[in-house]
């Protein structure tokens, strides 16, 4: 009926894609857990594309006017600016997940130490690129970023070197500032691309860390043997997996953006549009800005984007400011910017255990887990409240996860190693957790309603979230315990034919793809309905994702057989949800 094989052979003879020197992996590595890095990379690709397009209309001499005109007068301008922001959110968020996953699995171990270090450097440059990126907008948050960044640097590095660094980063002449920020943003983004290639290249030399199910939590073998019989050819299997995953990530990012645009101002950390100061807007030459823009400006208070809120919160812990002339913020700078990457960097060199089991690696598991928990806690704390804090409150808030994770690790590690776990130990653990629950309640009762100010509730919520995260982390560690029965590797049985329902799902996806292409080209007005247009682009990406996923299933059905429709449905469901949301926003 179709003779796609002839075309595939023609291309293969010319392009020799199946001979690309990529590390080959087995079919059972085609799962999301091994592809989180690809989510980061595809977010980065979307950032590069949207960023280069945004460059067409950026004006460093009047960024406020340039961005105002971009989102109100340029077709698809609002789509590009908001998608660039949301892709940055997605990249940073998925990079944190990527880091956590590889930390938890011990993927940094020999011989992948340099992959890990290159990844940390790439991540730091990513944050710095993002910082200059949101400074470029020229809105309220951007101006605060420049002000806070200048203050932190000059208070950390003293009267002379602080000023030198501020001048290098932000320029002293304000009229020249945005030329410099633009250059720095693009240069750092280029550097980020090069570092990503280094990180990926180093990774490719080793291939992914063999799955713990195959090694039984051992560090041997260090690499996936390249003579295994279940290795997938890079082309078309990895290629198609990467393509549909990338399209899915793009679609998901754009869909979240569309929902956020349609929802309006929910919270400034989620708001996708610039938040301009009305007076600055008038000074830039915008005389009658729309009502929603002024409303958003009214509801906004000083706060950086979410990925720097943790540092913003550390800045508020005033007991950390040491009394040294001109260098008062150096401790804060070290705690928020230097210490976390430094701690992560030493993991490969202090963890030389033969096992990759999280309960055999106390320092990475406990310290690394706490780093992530504290990151989340500080972010939520910073978003909930603003103010200066006593050492006691802060210690209480951060002591809770520490106790839970350390005790939880200790009990689980003893249990895993077959050592006796005394009832007293478990009881103490339970009592501590209960105390954390009960003590604040008792304190509220004792102090009466006066004590329960808004800030108090924020502190309490932060402590409880820390407790919940710590318990969740201990529960995650518990899942890695041997279940007692030997794990049966179930051989998948099922159809090696493509059943009709799956083909029909893909046909519906293609129909939605064609619909979104036609609507985007012929019907929709991007200026009258920016959120609807954004949703249509999301549908375009997601339906393409569904269709390419179908092609991937057709290619791998011999190795990953079809079992039942429920397993095939989830990727396509995302397409249909996008279609419903798009229709809801447009109509």
């Amino acid at each position: 009926m179709f003779r796609s094989n002839n075309l595939a052979e023609w291309l293969e003879e010319r392009l020799r894609l199946s001979h690309l020197p990529f590390y080959r992996v087995p079919y059972n590595y085609m799962t999301l857990e091994f592809w989180i890095g690809a989510i980061v990379a595809s977010s980065f690709m979307l950032l590069v594309i949207t960023g280069l397009l945004l460059l067409f209309y950026y004006k460093p001499d009047n960024p406020i006017l340039a961005n105002y005109e971009l989102i109100t007068e340029k077709p698809f301008g609002r789509f590009l600016l908001t998608t660039h922001l949301y892709a940055a959110h997605a990249m940073i968020f998925s990079a944190i997940i990527h880091l956590f996953r590889n930390m938890y699995r011990g993927a940094y171990k020999k011989p992948r130490e340099l992959v890990w270090l290159a990844g940390i450097v790439t991540g730091l440059i990513m944050i710095q690129t993002a910082f200059f990126g949101y400074s470029l907008i020229g809105d309220k948050i951007a101006e605060e970023a420049v002000a806070i960044g200048s203050g932190l640097v000059s208070n950390s590095f003293g009267p002379y070197w602080g000023k030198v660094l501020v001048a290098l980063a932000f320029d002293i002449d304000e009229a020249q500032r945005y030329y410099r920020l633009l250059a720095l943003h693009i240069i750092l983004a280029g550097l980020l691309g090069l570092l990503f290639m280094l990180h990926f290249g180093l990774f490719e030399q080793q291939g992914p860390q063999p799955s713990h199910e195959e090694t039984g939590w051992r560090t041997k073998p260090e690499r996936i043997p390249q003579d295994r019989e279940d290795l997938a050819p890079w082309f078309p299997v990895n290629f198609l997996y990467m393509t549909f995953l990338g399209l899915g990530v793009w679609g998901f990012i754009v869909l979240l953006n569309a929902i956020s645009q349609a929802a309006g101002f929910v919270h400034q950390l989620l708001y996708p549009l610039p938040i301009f100061d009305p007076e600055k807007l008038a000074a830039a030459g915008v005389t009658d800005p729309p009502e929603w823009m002024l409303e958003a400006a009214e509801k906004t208070r000083p706060m950086p984007p979410w990925f720097l809120v943790y540092a913003f919160k550390i800045f508020q812990l005033d007991f950390l400011y040491i009394d040294a002339i001109g260098y008062s913020a150096i401790l804060i700078f070290i705690i928020s910017m230097i210490l976390p990457p430094l701690i992560l960097s030493v993991f490969p060199f202090i963890d030389r255990h033969e096992s990759t089991h999280p309960l055999d690696r106390p320092i990475p598991t406990v310290v690394g887990g706490l780093l992530i928990i504290y990151l989340v806690q500080l972010t939520i704390w910073g978003a909930l409240s603003i103010g200066y804090y006593s050492l006691t409150t802060t210690t209480l808030i951060f002591l809770v996860p520490l106790i839970v994770v350390v005790m939880g690790y200790w009990i689980l590690a003893r249990y895993k190693n077959g050592e006796p776990v005394g009832a007293g130990l478990v009881l103490a653990f339970t009592v501590i957790i209960l105390l954390v629950f009960i003590a604040p309640g008792a304190w509220i009762v004792a102090k009466g309603s006066q004590g329960a100010s808004e800030a108090f509730w924020a502190d309490l919520a932060t402590m409880m979230i820390g407790l919940a995260l710590a318990i969740g982390y201990v529960a995650l560690l518990a899942t890695s315990l041997p279940s007692g029965e030997s794990v049966q590797r179930t051989v998948q049985v099922g159809s090696r034919d493509i059943p009709l329902p799956l083909a029909l799902l893909v046909v519906i996806d293609l129909f939605l793809l064609i619909t979104s292409v036609l609507l985007l080209a012929l019907w929709v007005d991007p200026l009258a309905s920016p959120a609807g247009t954004t949703a249509l682009v999301a549908l375009l990406f997601l339906s393409a994702y569904g269709v390419v996923h179908g092609a991937y299933r057709a290619v791998v059905v011999d190795k990953i057989p079809y079992t039942w429709i429920g397993r095939e449905l989830p990727p396509h469901l995302l397409v249909y949800i996008a279609a419903i949301i798009t229709a809801a926003i447009l109509v």
Binding site: F2, S4, F76, D497, A503, I514, L520, L540, A554
Partner: protein, 256 residues
């Protein structure tokens, strides 16, 4: 059912082509810059650099004058055409093709060579426009766009050579005789005595004509509009912001 497998592979290829093709229209719409609004042609008096009006009788025969019209960055020639002896020549009106190719359009070349006075109707692709001929006391004053219609070279690459003055490296004997507007960039030649039609390729169209008005009572000159092909490099002859248009007066400078 291998056919169903192949079907899904083909759909996958469609999906990749579809997503790339579907992104193209939005990207083009975004990247397309705004086209400046079309302005009315200004009625502009020609003045010397000291501000005094240009009198038709002050223009020396066969000298080259430049002025900007209708935008500040579109130069034009102002010529008082004459013969080798410096006697002014009456330039007749004509209907000229908006596009023409002297290497292919035999009839255009034939009629252009037919005589300086009797230019007939020359058919060309893209329609015709009316060149009103010379004005002034001797009907010898004309104005043409000073931007070559080939790749937009302008003075000093594009110059008027009076009869008897040969451009350097003339591409043909006809050009060597002078009486041409010649572009040194790629060798295009126009005949200013016949509405600046193309006599030597590669220029694809006559130089647009600036329509002048002459007041016999005061002897003053006005530029009122541009006719013919669109000035090379412009979206339309008056697509510009208002401040980019010349105002009530434009300065005439003698360059040779």
């Amino acid at each position: 059912m291998t056919s169903r497998r192949d079907f899904l592979k083909v759909l996958g290829a469609f999906g990749l082509v579809g997503v790339a093709g579907g992104l193209a229209p939005p990207i083009i719409r975004y990247v397309m810059p705004p086209i400046p609004p079309q302005q009315p042609f200004p009625r502009t008096k020609l003045v010397w650099e000291d501000g005094t009006p240009v009198k038709a009788s002050e223009l020396e025969v066969n000298k080259m004058y430049l002025f900007s019209y209708p935008m500040v960055n579109t130069p034009n020639f102002l010529l008082n055409l004459g013969d080798e002896n410096g006697n002014p020549i009456e330039i007749p009106p004509a209907e000229l093709p908006i596009t023409m190719d002297p290497t292919k359009d035999e009839s255009a070349v034939f009629k252009a060579q037919g005589g300086r006075v009797e230019i007939g109707r020359i058919e060309g692709r893209g329609g015709v426009y009316r060149f009103p001929g010379g004005i002034g006391p001797n009907k010898s004053i004309v104005a043409y766009s000073g931007i070559c219609q080939h790749f937009a070279c302008f003075y000093p690459a594009l110059k008027f050579f009076p009869p008897g003055a040969s451009p350097p490296n003339p591409p043909s004997e006809a050009v060597a005789k002078g009486g041409v507007i010649f572009c040194a960039c790629h060798g295009s030649a126009y005949d200013p005595y016949r509405g600046a039609i193309v006599t030597e390729a590669p220029a694809p169209s006559p130089l647009p004509a600036v329509i002048l008005e002459w007041d016999p009572n005061t002897d003053e000159l006005w530029a009122v509009r541009v006719e013919g092909s669109t000035i090379t490099g412009k979206f339309c002859n008056t697509c510009a912001q208002p401040e980019e248009m010349v105002g009530d007066t434009t300065t005439v400078k003698q360059v040779a």
